[in-house]
Amino acid sequence: MSVGAEPAGVGRVKGPPGDGPRLSVPAAWKRRVVEALTGASLWTRVVAVVLALIVAAPLILAAGSNPIEAYSAMVEGAFGSDQAIADVLNRADTFILLGLGIAISIRSGFFNVGAEGQLWLGALGASVVALYWSGPEPLVLIAALLVGFVFGALWSGLVALLKLSLGVDELISSLMLNYVAILLIGYLTFGPMKAYRAGQTERIEAELPLIFGDRLHAGILLSLVAVIVIWLLVARTRLGYEMRTLGSNPDAARYAGISAPSVIGRVSLLSGGLCGLAGANAILGAQHVLLSDFSPGWGYTAIAVALLGGLTAFGVLLAAVLFGALEIGATNMQFTAGVPASLSSLIEGLILVFFLLAIPLSLSGPRRWLRRRLRPRRAEG
């Protein structure tokens, strides 16, 4: 099978010291994931979404509602009015920025799942600036967004630093740092930054300008710019080339003289920065106050967004709008159809599972996949 397969049946002796153990995912399998995710067709995703909706239907029945009515209430809740659409886009911009950050990180082979923590840190950075600096509003906004970016970047940089200097696997360290970040903001909002009510800061006066109606804020423009910038970065720049090579073929990257630590370092800063920006954007655009329960886990949902989006900028954009619509639609459906809004998180998980199941089918094409399944049986008979 694989080229690197060891001869079987040989007693295991200790490997040479240079081949020392490292706490990280073997490169070959990272490559497989990246290829599988970027290579899967649009149809795979559509099938995954449809299957998820079908499988979730019995639970809607259990909640005492008609699935078709519930789903149409969901569509109505997401796209039925200008306000609903504005809410969907306001949620989508958070997912876009987070999804872009996660996508570039996974594409360069750095399995950083710390988006949640970076999101919280970004929110903290923006809140600190907007609360304690009373300059002219445009300046405050720009500074708050920048500081949010930097806070997120530093939190993510810590993960990269731990990996590159001490060999700590990014998967677990970034997850642990998520909890630390949430507790840090819990400490601040119940302690030094507490307002008249515990668990939240004072109201943040600086607000992103509204661009349509009384709800849709400029965050969506910010995230569309980010989509284009990241697309250009990945497709057209040297760093983009280096990260694609590193993610898809680490050996080739080594021969091409690409320094993995340097690429991982830069990508992790950029990735964390985007997630931090998402936090700053959510504070300045939608929430206007830093709460001790600021995010219900958007940083994790965005992992699904990045994966479903095939780790590409425009894919993330589409997946983010889909998930934004799912969540806002579900929230509104809760009132109209009486099905709990947690339905959206179940559907998100199901979409991801079915997508993973469908990838092998998509990569080889349904017909070839079927033929391969049938052949061995014929040979045996």
């Binding site: 099978m1 397969a5 079987a8 049946g9 295991r12 020392g20 153990p21 490292r22 706490l23 995912v25 073997p26 070959a28 399998w29 497989r32 994931v33 599988a36 639970l59 259990a62 909640a63 399995f111 799942v113 731990l162 001490l166 060999g167 700590v168 696997d169 998967l171 677990i172 360290s173 997850l175 642990m176 740092l177 909890y179 630390v180 507790l183 840090l184 819990g186 400490y187 119940f190 302690g191 886990g297 994790y300 949902t301 992992i303 699904a304 809760q334 009486g338 709990p340 809004a341 947690s342 998180s345 179940l346 998100e348 998980g349 991801l352 599972v353 993973l356 199941l357 990838i359 092998p360």
Partner: protein, 315 residues
């Protein structure tokens, strides 16, 4: 600071440590076997959540804590079976699958919890107390001063967790344990010797789910008598770290779990002694300890050779 050196404080802290280690031991023991066979369960957090919820449901409907624990075991096993199918049979990436299973578990539990336990149109689940495990003092042993109170006045699930450690140690050294290790180190050799890599990996992952289900049962109907969606709080991910830091060895897992449980209990007990440290900073302790432990403080860990690699049987 004077409250720290009292007898009540130390005994209480240590008893809490023994208790808090139980769910970590359950989850990390199975995970150690899974990882030895070449599969990582990033969805462990989800197995714990499903286990906790199923145990709560079981106890709610059947009004008996032990039946609840059994349901937790079954629920954890089932969700792990789903993960196993995707990772082992469909050969999808293990880390991505784990994350997917975790998100799926959160949605499944959140939805079912609200469907069953919310009243009227509020859709806010009501907390219902169910039959939970009571502490069971072992006659004789529990009357030893200090030690009895720390070790032998716990609930049955805690004893079970500590009993599982020597059992796991024996299994790892048995013929079956050898097969598990072979599945992770050199699956081709195991197949040519007549073993079944796929079946062994399935068994390890499902066993991990069942044990994590018991760990979840401890979190819902063991240490409390109710359910709350955030009750797992990252213990699944900490258990992943424990399995690795403990070198995927039952004794190592036990030691690592106790260290983390101590950090966890400290945050509960220090405030009772009048130590004025912000609660959140103490709560961050177990997570920071995990990172430090992984940073090679206890030496580097060698992964099995076929770690994270799907097995393709040659026709």
């Amino acid at each position: 600071m004077s409250g720290i050196l009292t007898e009540a404080f130390i005994v209480g802290l240590l008893a809490a440590t023994i208790r808090a280690a139980a769910p970590l031991i359950f989850a990390a023991l199975g995970e150690a076997f899974s990882q030895r066979s070449g599969v990582i369960n990033v969805g462990l957090e989800g197995y714990l959540l499903i286990g906790a919820f199923c145990a709560y449901l079981g106890s709610y409907y059947m009004d008996h804590a032990w039946l609840g624990a059994l349901m937790g075991l079954a629920g954890g096993g089932l969700i792990a079976l789903v993960a196993a199918y995707v990772m082992i049979s469909r050969r999808a990436d293990q880390i991505v699958t784990g994350l997917a299973v975790w998100i799926l578990s959160i949605g499944l539990v959140g939805l079912t919890y609200r469907i069953i336990f919310s009243e009227g149109n509020s859709l806010q689940p009501q907390r219902v107390a169910v039959d939970a495990f009571d502490a069971w003092a072992i006659p004789g042993l529990s009357s030893i001063p200090w030690i009895g109170e720390i070790l032998f006045d716990q609930i049955a699930l805690v004893y079970l967790a500590y009993l599982a450690v020597p059992v796991a140690w024996l299994i790892l050294r048995s013929r079956q344990g050898l097969k598990v290790r072979a599945a992770g180190e050199s699956p081709e050799a195991l197949e040519s010797a007549g073993g079944n890599v796929i079946r062994i990996r399935y068994a390890c992952v499902v066993a991990t789910g069942m044990l994590a289900g018991l760990g979840g049962a401890f979190l819902s109907i063991g240490q409390t008598d109710t359910f709350e969606e955030g009750l797992v709080g990252g213990r699944g991910f900490i258990a992943l770290g424990i399995a690795i830091v403990g070198r995927r060895n039952p004794v190592g897992v036990l030691v690592a779990a106790l260290v983390f449980a101590f950090a966890d209990s400290l945050q509960l007990w220090l405030p009772t002694a009048g130590v004025d440290v912000p609660r959140q900073l103490l709560q961050a302790l177990p997570y920071i300890v995990t990172i430090i432990a992984l940073a090679g403080m206890f030496g580097r860990v060698r992964h099995p050779r076929a770690f994270l690699k799907p097995f393709v049987r040659q026709a």
